[in-house]
């Protein structure tokens, strides 16, 4: 194995491969900075450029760009309150609040450090797991995926701990909204109301953009003020401020490792809904915090958790793609296509024949995470000036950008309409104090839960929950949920 690692490092450290990675990074950052454009868009846009390239060269170019996309998305989430891609929506909650309080530099520092280290964590895990992975992934069948998704749903209760009734309504509404369109098992279209668009149900990107970006843009449009509130002293972004944010990750190492582990595990499991991982990490951070009620008011832990989780997830998602040929996310499905274009066939055989290439790709992802953080830091000095642009100027520009982002995902104009329909819902939810992350979490996991429940019932009958791994997942989820309240539970137990 050491030989393979040395060989991978040797192949990477050539001027041509390094040049390809350095070319991919800024392209990925530009795509990440445009709201709604995600890793899928990056791959779709960049794959044609790799035709005829050597496999390592082409994949290094693609993966470096892919690593940078997420960084760009988190910057817009923090500075503008507009998530670059769906997972960045979790960063908006506290990151944007920090910007409004004049602490954008700290939030950016924490996000960059969390992302870079989270990415390294995911890649480290990927390198350790590559040789032993196949039996682990194959032991996860539909019942285990069902319980993993169910554990994710349980975090809705945590996300909504401030206002449980409203949070649960939002979460349940999200699950219900996921049931529009073709049913997952027998393909009957539900509530399509004669509208072809609804045959595939509501789409995730318009929902995320509408719920999170539109209310912030509306607020800017209504007030006309700059993002950074005029009553706060806006410190110009400096190395000192960013370093302070970056060091915060080391002050919350437990949170960092927990969030990265959550991201890696969710990323490794194909089809468990990687987009939800940052929300689960955010909810877990809130659950474990000593004063969870202050989450949502600009806490740095609310930035570290989703950012470290989000990048760790990408390393994890590469695992099933390489080892089994099963994509861990939609972006990985496109990467799988790129492998085939470049003459490679991922799967168990791939690791036997191209172990050095697998390690090489892990190293590219690690390099991409760190290098894009550095690049983003250099850019962040300019991005912060955006927070001083008057709302009446910034809001229409952002509205146009999210419309373009909403359209570009599936090149469907109706998506743009739905961005604004969900945006209206988002504005109402914000004004009435309903929990938007809970709705998004319910939406992503609802369909997964239904599908795996039906498949598990058909394949294993009612006893599907008695499988050992299923029981382990249930126990871990219960422990995670109950651990912060253990003293109260013990007290109730004793008094009873």
């Amino acid at each position: 194995m050491l030989e393979a690692i040395a060989s991978a490092a040797g192949q990477l450290l050539t001027p041509v491969v390094m040049g390809a990675m350095l070319l991919g990074l800024p392209l990925g950052l530009i795509i990440g900075l445009l709201p709604g454009l995600s890793g899928i868009t990056a791959f779709a846009f960049l794959i044609p450029f790799t035709f005829g390239m050597e496999p390592l060269l082409g994949l290094a170019f693609l993966l470096a760009a892919y690593a940078a996309v997420s960084q760009g998305g988190s910057m817009t989430a923090i500075v503008l309150g507009v998530p670059g891609e769906v997972p960045n929506a979790a960063t908006v909650i506290d990151g944007y609040e920090m910007t409004k309080r004049g602490r954008a530099g700290e939030a950016i520092g924490a996000a960059l450090m969390g992302s870079a280290l989270g990415g390294l964590f995911g890649v480290g895990l990927l390198m350790i797991l590559i040789p032993v992975l196949q039996p682990i992934i194959l032991s996860f069948a539909s019942p285990e995926n069902f319980f993993l998704a169910l554990a994710g749903i349980a975090f809705i209760a945590v996300l909504s701990s401030g206002a449980p009734g409203k949070g649960l309504i939002a979460g349940a509404l999200g699950i219900f909204m996921s049931m529009f369109g073709y049913s997952p098992t027998d393909g009957i279209p539900r509530w399509w109301l004669g509208v072809d668009y609804l045959l595939d149900g509501f789409r995730l990107v318009p929902l995320a953009l509408g719920l999170f970006a539109v209310p912030e843009i509306y607020a800017l449009m209504a007030s006309g003020k700059t993002i950074a509130r005029s009553d706060t002293v806006l410190e110009p972004i400096s190395m000192r401020q960013v370093v302070r944010g970056g060091l915060a990750v080391f002050r919350h190492l437990g949170l960092f490792f927990r969030s990265s582990a959550i991201g890696s595990v969710i990323g490794i499991m194909p089809g468990v809904g990687g987009a939800t991982a940052p929300f689960v990490a955010y909810a877990a951070a809130k659950q474990m915090a000593s004063n969870p009620e202050t989450f949502g008011t600009g806490r740095i832990e609310g930035v570290i958790a989703p950012e470290s989780c989000s990048n760790a997830k990408e390393g994890g998602a590469l695992v099933p793609t390489l080892a089994l040929g099963i994509p861990g996310s939609a972006s990985m499905a496109l990467l799988l296509g790129a492998f085939i274009v470049l003459g490679l066939e991922p799967g168990p055989e791939f690791l036997v024949k191209h172990l050095d290439l697998a390690f090489g790709l892990a190293m590219v992802l690690a390099f991409g995470n760190v290098a894009s953080s550095v690049l983003m830091f250099l850019l962040s000095r300019f991005l912060i000036y955006i927070t001083r642009v008057p709302g009446h100027l910034l809001a229409p520009i952002l509205a146009v950008l999210i419309a373009l982002g909403g359209y570009s995902t599936e090149t469907n104009p109706i998506d743009v309409l739905f961005v604004f329909i969900f945006g209206a819902l988002g504005i109402v939810m914000v004004r009435l104090g309903y929990n938007r992350p809970a709705l998004l979490l319910g939406f992503v996991l609802g369909e997964i839960i239904e599908r795996y429940f039906q498949v598990s019932m058909n394949a294993y009958g009612w006893t599907f929950f008695l499988r050992p791994i299923s029981i382990t997942i249930i126990v871990i989820a219960l422990l995670l949920l109950l651990w912060p309240n253990r003293k109260r539970i013990m007290l109730m137990w004793r008094s009873a």
Binding site: T41, F45, I93, Y96, E97, S160, S161, G162, A163, G165, K166, G167, L168, I169, A172, L173, F176, M179, S183, T185, D186, I188, R190, W191, V214, Y218, M221, A222, S223, G224, E293, T294, G296, T297, H392, L393, A395, P396, I397, A399, V400, A403, L404, Y407, S408, T411, P413, V416, L417, F420, G423, A424, I427, V428, R431, L432, G433, Y434, N435, Q454
Partner: protein, 152 residues
């Protein structure tokens, strides 16, 4: 009592009941397809009913501040109809003039209406054409509709 506090859960409840009734009586979904949505829909309805009764009793939840955990914030700025009109008016521009010219026209008119100079407004509008036509269509190959949508 804020009327919205009552109207939102009531609207959600009404829509869910309507959809469940449609599913059962009109579409006549099989139990395989209907059990899960029925269960979730009923849960939403019960939660909405509980929330409505809490509002009517005047015992609504008071949660800490924060954009996504707070209950209705009474100190929030009043709803701005002009801001909402400008925000959602973009859809009309895109539908009427297509994504390239619609976005540019929207930015030009919106910025002028909000007191920005002609130079600033025209510059931003031209920059938007550069992004939509140049970056999206020419560079990234994303086929934004150039012609008005109502013509297609």
């Amino acid at each position: 009592m804020n009327r919205g506090e009552l109207a939102f859960p009531a609207s959600v409840l009404a829509v869910i009941v309507l959809l469940l009734a449609l599913g059962y009586f009109y579409y006549q979904y099989s139990w395989t397809d209907f059990t899960f949505p029925l269960g979730v829909g009923m849960a939403v309805c019960v939660l909405c009913a509980i929330e409505m009764s809490a509002v009517l009793r005047g015992s609504r939840e008071v949660a800490p501040a924060g954009s996504d955990v707070d209950s209705a914030d009474d100190t929030r700025e009043p709803f701005s109809v002009p801001a909402a009109a400008w925000m959602f008016g973009l859809v009309v521009f895109l539908y009427a003039l297509g994504f390239v010219y619609g976005a540019a026209a929207y930015l030009l008119i919106c910025l002028r209406a909000n007191g920005f100079s002609w130079i600033a407004s025209v510059t931003v509008a031209l920059a938007s054409i550069l992004v939509t036509w140049g970056l999206f269509i020419k560079v990234m190959g994303i086929l934004l509709p150039v012609a008005p949508l109502w013509l297609s």
